[in-house]
């Protein structure tokens, strides 16, 4: 097998000769989300951040499924594929696996990725295809006008659940870690600086990176993430995770609990050296998983940042490696040799 050249996600993607700006990534299409939708903020954040990567624009592809968020590719002046419900990770897998020179982004939502497309998501993650999956989580079905989603809290009253939803929601971060993801992060639509820093890390990660973006749907699920945006409480409930730094909010800290797990305690009650220092590169995913479990729909405290970022060979590199190995061993295939291999006989 050929050696993995470089663990960085963008190493095989050609660099742009000219300096591109935000306007270069805006397509000529009119943006058609509802006024006030969190998707606008994410689109602006992505358009203003991607020029930093310095890639050729034509080597970037945005692939999406179905849902409000999945209109995203139409607004990016790159290559784009607005596909069908839930299947974007599968389509992007074929593209990324056969074209390591592309920076491939999957835009999906909580219904698209976790309901109809759940199978493709988990398999993309375990394979570690070189994709950046941005999961816009608004905890509701928007495009179908307001049914509960697989991330809606239990008891959610919606058009399809007038007496409240019955099913326990997925925690997308826990799910991704359980699916052997090599890069898992969470950020918020309203915090552009944080959003962009997470996207940068995701882009540079070689393999599948999953970024959950809390996104407000102001029509069907307004203020779903309000505690994380409210200046009165956000600094207290947001537990910032930065590699090598203690995991704390303004008033809380994470520490090892006596029962072997982790717990959130008032910062005033712990010594600095008791506070858990974040290690995103830890091979064992159990601590990242434990961090993901601190987050409950009540928003008492919510970890934000990169839960996990570990190096693992990406699927496209492994696949290309097998091709190279096969050619290296026996040379490139010759059609006549192939057709005549095995038992043959001549007549006449």
């Amino acid at each position: 097998m050929s050696e993995i050249q470089n663990g960085r996600g963008l190493s095989l993607v050609p660099k742009s000769d000219v300096k591109l700006g935000m306007k270069d990534f805006k397509s000529d299409q009119e943006v058609r989300w509802c006024p006030g939708c969190g998707d606008y903020a994410i689109l602006a954040a992505v358009q203003s951040f991607v020029p930093e990567l310095g890639l050729k624009r034509e080597n970037m592809v945005f692939v999406s499924g179905i849902g409000c968020s999945s209109r995203f590719p139409y607004y990016m002046n790159t290559y784009g594929f607005h596909s069908i419900h839930g299947r974007a990770p599968a389509i992007a897998t074929g593209l990324a696996a056969s074209r390591p020179d592309l920076s491939v982004w999957v835009i999906t939502g909580d219904g698209d990725a976790l309901s109809i497309g759940g199978n493709h998501l988990i398999h993309a993650l375990r394979r570690n295809v070189n994709l950046n999956i941005l999961l816009f989580n608004n905890r509701i079905y928007g495009l179908t006008k307001g049914q509960y989603s697989p991330t809606s809290e239990i008891g959610k009253i919606t058009k399809s659940t007038p007496m409240g939803s019955l099913d326990k929601p997925f925690n997308p971060i826990s799910l991704a870690i359980g699916a052997e993801a090599s890069f898992v992060a969470r950020t918020i639509d309203s915090d552009r600086k944080h959003l962009q820093s997470v996207l940068r890390e995701a882009a540079e990660h070689r393999g599948t990176s999953l970024v959950e973006i809390y996104q407000n749907c102001n029509i069907f699920n307004d203020n779903a993430f309000e505690p994380l945006k409210d200046p009165e409480q956000r600094d207290d409930i947001t537990l910032r995770m930065e590699h090598g730094r203690p995991i704390v909010s303004a008033s809380k800290a994470v520490r090892r609990a006596a029962d072997g797990g982790i717990e959130v305690v008032p910062r005033a009650e712990v010594r600095e050296d008791e506070i858990l220092v974040h290690d995103a590169h830890r091979a064992d995913p159990s601590l990242a998983f434990a961090l993901s479990r601190l987050d409950e729909p009540s928003f008492e405290h919510v970890p934000i940042g990169v839960f996990r970022s570990v190096e693992r060979p990406s699927y496209d590199e492994l696949m290309a490696g097998q091709l190279e190995e096969a050619v290296g061993d026996r040379g490139r295939g010759d059609l006549d040799d192939l057709l005549l291999a095995g038992d043959t006989w001549r007549i006449g």
């Binding site: 290559y79 074929g94 056969s98 490139r332 192939l338 006989w345």
Partner: protein, 617 residues
């Protein structure tokens, strides 16, 4: 003792035994020897879907039929001349197909009271007179094998397992087959277990020697090599030919092949075969499900690969939405459907032609696509190249309809040289195509083919977005305009319909030109229909034959051909799917003949049906 040698022009042998008895391997080896000897041949494996059904039961019976001749033949044969029955279940399951006077070679060791009871025999048919109409050769295959292997340090069980090679040796003697290739094969197959290799070779040779010395066989048979067109030949199954056709298509299109597939009977062997040929730059992706298989193939096609997915009927049902996406995004995609008996799981290892209407219409909206169907195992090679040609040239998904009979059946194939194969390459878009010289219009069509440009990521200046939402003509921008939708629906249809001008006309085989009855077919029924037509003509009857390879669009002259005959007979292994299409399209009163038994037609059966239609004139 010198035994009598009798000349035959053709022989049909059926090896039958328990799923664990190695009948498929035995049949394959006999086939290889026969191919090497230079006979024309055709094979029909028939096996249960269960990997190991309960031993000795009727559902556990696996068989392999081989027809070989000194002339060109078209089918694996209707009825065996020789049945090798490794146990009572094999005898009982196959006796119904055996004409009177045929030879039965039965392994007496397995005809125990218990085994007989298992399949409902009250007495032992080898010992009562119930098989008097046949020529019975009782041979204690198992104990003879064990005895032959006494000198080997093998368990009794391992020794018994070589009984299929003993049977192969006996049959090889009986029909004068060459032995070197089988010995070589066993040495290679068991290269890491030389003891097992030697034991199998010893069993094989013991079987041969037994034939030469026993009095149970007084005659051996010779079938002279067939006179086939000069060239280099190999034996090939439909699935292998299809896999090779895909590789050839990739080479001839100068596009890297990407296969997205999920294992399913009877298509999996194509995935297995292609995964061996990474030296051709082929990427094989075993997906998490059928939908991901086709999705990944379509994603790769967007990136400039020859995207292929292989499956069978249930998988096609799952892929339908993605195939619709390929129709509307107008990307090349090959969908290979190795049809099997349905509905639902149906009978996975049995053959059928029941997916034609699903291929035609099994998607939401108006979503036409070309359909190509191979007619024989080796034709799967050419059909795969043709399907790829259409996909690439017209930027469309193409459905290739093989079936279980073609997939597992085999025949000698005159190997083409790469230089003879068509160039099916295409051009990617490289620059703007708008009238202003700067704009790129992803849905502007080629005036002749109506195909849109294939602009792949990495091409500067051609950045564009495609998707499942209706697109405005030329620009490809999202459009809900009523007039535009109507136009796009018609354009997509016209593009597929126009392919009729790019495929050969339907050829009719009517030697004297005065037949009044046409027998029409499509796909794998070619062999049995052609064999039946030969029989009719041999007995002085007049019948014309035509066979459709392109099911959508149909060749431009199809209506003309159908109307030129008083009667059109259409045998199909479904309830009349092509007949429905032809009646609707041409208002011709097709006479259908339909059987859906999971098995190919028999030539004799079809000859009878054709004769009835002629007689009713």
């Amino acid at each position: 003792m010198t035994k009598q040698v009798q000349q035959l022009d053709r022989v049909i042998i059926r090896f039958a035994g328990d799923s664990g008895d190695g009948m498929q391997l035995t049949g394959d080896r006999f086939t290889a020897g026969t191919a090497e000897f230079g006979n024309d041949l055709s094979t029909l494996p028939n096996f249960p879907a269960e990997i190991r059904a309960p031993a000795g039961t009727l559902p556990g019976v696996s068989s392999f039929q081989l027809h070989f001749a000194d002339h060109d033949i078209l089918t694996p044969g209707d009825a065996p001349n020789v049945l090798v029955a490794m146990n009572p279940a094999a005898l009982k399951a196959n006796l119904g197909d055996l004409p009177r006077g045929a030879d039965i070679i039965a392994n007496t060791d397995e005809f125990t009271k218990r085994n007989l009871q298992k399949v409902g025999y009250d007495g032992n048919p080898l010992e009562d007179d119930s098989l008097a109409e046949w020529r019975l050769h009782p041979v204690p295959l198992t104990s003879l094998t064990v005895k032959a292997l006494e000198g080997f340090t093998l368990s009794k069980k391992d020794a018994e397992r070589s009984k299929n090679m003993f049977a192969l040796g006996l049959l090889s003697w009986l029909y004068h087959r060459p032995t070197e290739a089988t010995i070589q094969f066993l040495e290679n197959k068991f290269a890491k277990k030389p003891d097992i290799a030697k034991a199998n070779i010893a069993a094989f040779q013991a079987g041969w020697n037994y034939g030469e010395t026993t009095e149970s066989f007084s005659v051996s048979y010779e079938v002279k090599p067939a006179k086939l067109p000069p060239g280099v030949y190999r034996n090939i199954s439909g699935n292998q030919a299809l896999a090779y056709g895909l590789i050839a298509a990739s080479v001839q299109a100068r596009l890297p092949l990407f296969l997205g597939s999920y294992p399913i009977t009877p298509a999996s062997d194509i995935l297995h075969e292609l995964s061996k040929h990474k030296r051709f730059g082929i990427r094989t992706f075993q997906a998490e499900d059928e939908i991901a298989g086709v999705g990944a193939a379509l994603g790769a096609a967007f990136g400039g690969a020859l995207g292929v997915t292989t499956t069978s009927g249930p998988g096609v049902a799952l892929k339908a939405e993605t195939v619709g996406l390929a129709v509307t995004t107008e990307l090349p995609l090959l969908v290979v459907d190795v049809q099997r008996a349905g509905p639902s799981t149906g009978m996975p290892t049995k053959t059928e032609q029941t997916d034609l209407l699903m291929a035609m219409f099994g998607r939401n909206g108006e979503s036409p696509l070309p359909i190509v169907a191979p007619s024989t195992p080796s034709d799967c090679f050419d059909a795969a190249i043709e399907a790829a040609r259409l996909a690439v040239k017209y930027r469309t998904p193409v459905m290739l309809l093989s079936d279980g009979y073609l997939a597992n059946g085999s025949e000698p194939w005159k190997v083409p040289s790469a230089a003879e194969l068509p160039d099916i390459s295409t051009e990617f878009a490289t620059g703007p195509n708008g009238e202003d010289g700067v704009t790129f219009l992803p849905f502007k069509r080629d005036a002749e083919t109506l195909a849109r440009p294939w602009a792949i990521p990495g091409t500067a200046g051609l950045e564009h977005r495609i998707g499942g939402i209706e697109k405005a003509e030329n620009t490809g921008n999202i459009s809900y305009d009523p007039g535009n939708h109507d136009k796009m629906v018609r354009l997509r249809q016209a593009k597929i319909d126009g392919i009729a001008q790019d495929i050969p006309p339907l050829e009719v085989d009517d030697p004297d030109g005065d037949a009044r009855v046409l027998v029409l077919g499509w796909g794998s029924t070619y062999g049995p229909i052609a064999a039946a037509v030969r029989r009719i003509r041999k007995s002085g009857g007049k019948v014309a034959q035509a066979h459709l390879r392109h099911l959508n669009p149909l060749p431009a002259n199809t209506g003309e051909v159908l109307r030129a005959y008083d009667k059109v007979l259409l045998p199909e292994i479904n309830l009349g799917q092509l007949a429905l299409l032809l009646r609707a399209r041409f208002l011709v009163d097709i006479i259908s003949y339909n059987r859906v038994r999971g098995l190919p037609f028999k030539a004799e059966e079809l000859a009878g049906v054709i004769q009835d239609v002629i007689d009713s004139e």
